[in-house]
Amino acid sequence: MNFDFSDDLKALREQARKFLRQRCPTATVRRVLEGPEPYDLRLWQEIAAMGWTGAAIPEAWGGAGLGHLGLCVLAEELGSALAPTPFASSIYLAAEAIMLAGSDSQKQAWLPKLAGGTIIGTFALAEGPGKADPGKLFTTWRGGALTGEKLPVPDGDVADLAVVAARGERGLQLLLVDLNGPGVTRHAVDTIDPSRSHARLVFAGAAAEPIGELGRGEALLRRLEERAAVLMAFEQVGGAQRALEMARDYALQRYAFGRPIGSFQAIKHKLADVWVATELARANAYYGAWALSRDAPELPLAAAAARISANEAYFLAAKENIQVHGGMGFTWEFDCHLHYRRAKLLALALGSTRLWKERLLLELEAANAPL
């Protein structure tokens, strides 16, 4: 039994943690949250220079070839630091989609740039509030041209390349769109977490080339979401752990009624429950990492379990962190709201808990054996 990351990857995690503690304190996150910058460009460049963006991309396409386990440990640290960069959009989604289904020429054209962080990619699915039902998308692809509107698109204001889900002549299709080309307009939109920018993308006959086989878009979309869900779960676990540590540290240092508030069972038991949720989420994320790294047939189930428990753990940790901080917890000045915002943002980014529970049940029914 060796259900753990290798010593090399643990060393990488440690290195990433040290770097981000120093280079990405919450002041950095706040600068993006409060200011005009859509993301921290210098941090992004430094991350790319260290090879993080190319971690899971094969060396043949300009990556580091560390595999997805390497990406998982980095994701955990990026989540812990609330890194204000387009990492998830560009790497878990755009690069992942191209690696999964791109042609050789598409890989050649885009992966080295994504690996090097010289361009930013993203993934566009949602079309406003409500479920983005693959069968009922309004954005359409006809004769190589894309028409429609996507909202919200993470990092859509700064991305160079988008993988867009649209309705084609043979059903749902994933498409590659150069966002700097003609027929694309975009506007930044306000979201609950301004430390990660989002946009409305409008396509008016933009050039779009298909990625993956025609008519197989839905299956590809599912696989892409499963892979991204595992990686995102590591970000969420990292965030949950950090929020828990913030609450713990504050509970040790804040005194009320003549004693540290962390000595009250009302606080201790609350934080014990947060720890339990975080450990369950971590364990499910690890299983997801195993399945992802081997492209195992268990991936759909493992990804759904990882996603559901990460969604719940991070939001629980973030909201109880505010609660433990009392009145200061809901001020702008204290950092609690950074995690609270990010927790909800990530819990919706790839579809809600409700949708993933339904996916999980469909998988279990298909397998006809729950355990």
Partner: protein, 411 residues
């Protein structure tokens, strides 16, 4: 990252498989429900003793015990491997857990070589069964509040008082016992630890009927019971330290799944019609099933992480508290929800009338005990908060005063 054995583990597993294939019958397929009811049945105990002797002969009893206790000197991961393999066979389990997991390790740690030689081997072979005489009516989670009295009398001690929640007292041969020998000392300083022949004159054993109807536990009354001083473990007044040796092992002993779980409620949801189709097609049911599936998968992989630590020779931390805490409440919630699905028929507990042989109804009545025995949910949360998160212990009112001056409330 993988789930495979190391070469050493694989070799050990092969040996275990070989032994089990020759010595035991495979477990018939089924829902995997395990109840601890068997211990009460004398025939079960005879079978359990015979099986224990076979295990001991093959070197699979006391896998983690040091060789000078008569054990194998193996590693905790070998114990895990053995348990995984044994679980596939229909063999009696559980009768010796408290003795081998808690009592004998305490005896071997604190007793003389003579005591070890006399007791360890017999316990290992299942020839003597041990129980633990710790909790009292006024000392549960707060064990050190115990007030069973020990008074010296020549080379003996005279014991008076009452112990409770003693599993198997009525069929056990020996027990370990914590007493108070000094009521004027501070709470943790006045305790003395003994082991005792359960057939000593003056011991009265009264079964406690639980809400489930079963009687796994007993009250044990001591009236002028005589124990020789040679059966004292540790110094007079140092019984708390000895008791901690026993308790350290408790988490490994208690636990394991007791009751209908997530696969049973899935099975029920497939079969049961809610009037507008199978329960499995109902959105509210699916939501719950997903929650429980995700939590039980999480527990499974937390456990794999613990095994990984064991496999490397690391000591797992208080993380072991997590499984018990999550599982006990989950089983209670599953039982209550499954019965809701059965509507008015959910009250039926006759195994011939209720789905899954009445397992959910049974679990409804047994699961409250799981949330309390072996460390209540509240104690588990304290352990996590203090030992994992490093939060301060509760402010204590009972650390500085002599025991006989502590407020006690009505008793």
């Amino acid at each position: 990252m993988d789930f495979e054995d190391t070469p050493e583990e694989a070799q050990f597993r092969a040996g275990v498989r070989d032994f089990l294939a020759k010595a035991a019958e495979p477990r018939p397929p089924g829902s995997g429900l395990v109840y601890r009811a068997g211990n009460e049945d004398p025939k079960f105990r005879e079978r359990a003793k015979a099986w224990q002797a076979k295990k001991a002969d093959a070197g699979y009893a006391g896998i983690t015990w040091p060789t000078h206790w008569g054990g194998r000197g193996g590693s905790p991961i070998q114990q895990v491997v053995y348990d995984q393999e044994e679980a596939k066979y229909a063999v009696p389990r559980g009768l010796f857990d408290i003795g081998l997991g808690m009592c004998i390790p305490t005896l071997c740690t604190w007793g003389t070589q003579e005591i070890r030689d006399r007791f360890a081997g017999k316990a290992l072979r299942g020839e003597e069964i041990w129980c633990q005489l710790f909790s009292e009516p006024a000392a549960g989670s707060d064990l050190a509040g115990l007030r069973t009295r020990a008074e010296p009398d020549g080379s003996d001690w005279i014991i008076n008082g009452e112990k409770i929640w003693t599993s198997g007292a009525h069929y056990c041969d020996w027990g370990v016992l914590v007493t108070r020998s000094d009521f004027a000392a501070k709470k943790h300083d006045g305790l003395t630890y003994f082991f005792i022949d359960m057939r000593s004159p003056g011991i009265e054993i009264r079964p406690i009927k639980q809400m489930s109807g079963a009687s796994h536990f007993n009250a044990v009354l001591f009236k002028d019971v005589r124990v020789p001083d040679s059966q004292r473990l540790g110094a007079v007044g140092e019984g708390w330290k000895v008791a901690l040796t026993t308790l350290m092992n408790e988490r490994h002993t208690i636990g394991g799944r007791v009751g209908a779980g997530v696969e049973d409620v899935f099975e029920l949801a497939r079969k049961l019609d809610l009037g507008d189709g199978p329960a499995l097609q109902n959105g509210a049911v699916r939501d719950k099933l997903a929650d429980w599936y995700v939590a039980s998968q999480g527990l499974k992989y937390v456990n794999f992480r613990t095994m990984t630590a064991l496999s490397r020779g690391d000591t797992p931390g208080p993380e072991a508290s997590l499984g018990k805490l999550v599982n006990a409440s989950m089983l209670q919630n599953i039982a209550a929800f499954a019965m809701d699905l059965m509507e008015q028929g959910g009250v039926l507990c006759d195994p011939n009338l209720a789905p899954v042989a009445g397992a959910f109804q049974q679990t409804l009545l047994t699961s409250p005990a799981s949330r309390i025995a072996g460390g209540s949910d509240e104690i588990m949360r304290n352990i996590i908060a203090e030992r994992v998160l490093g939060l301060p212990p509760e402010i204590r009112l009972d650390k500085t005063l002599p025991f006989n001056q502590l407020p006690t409330g009505k008793r």
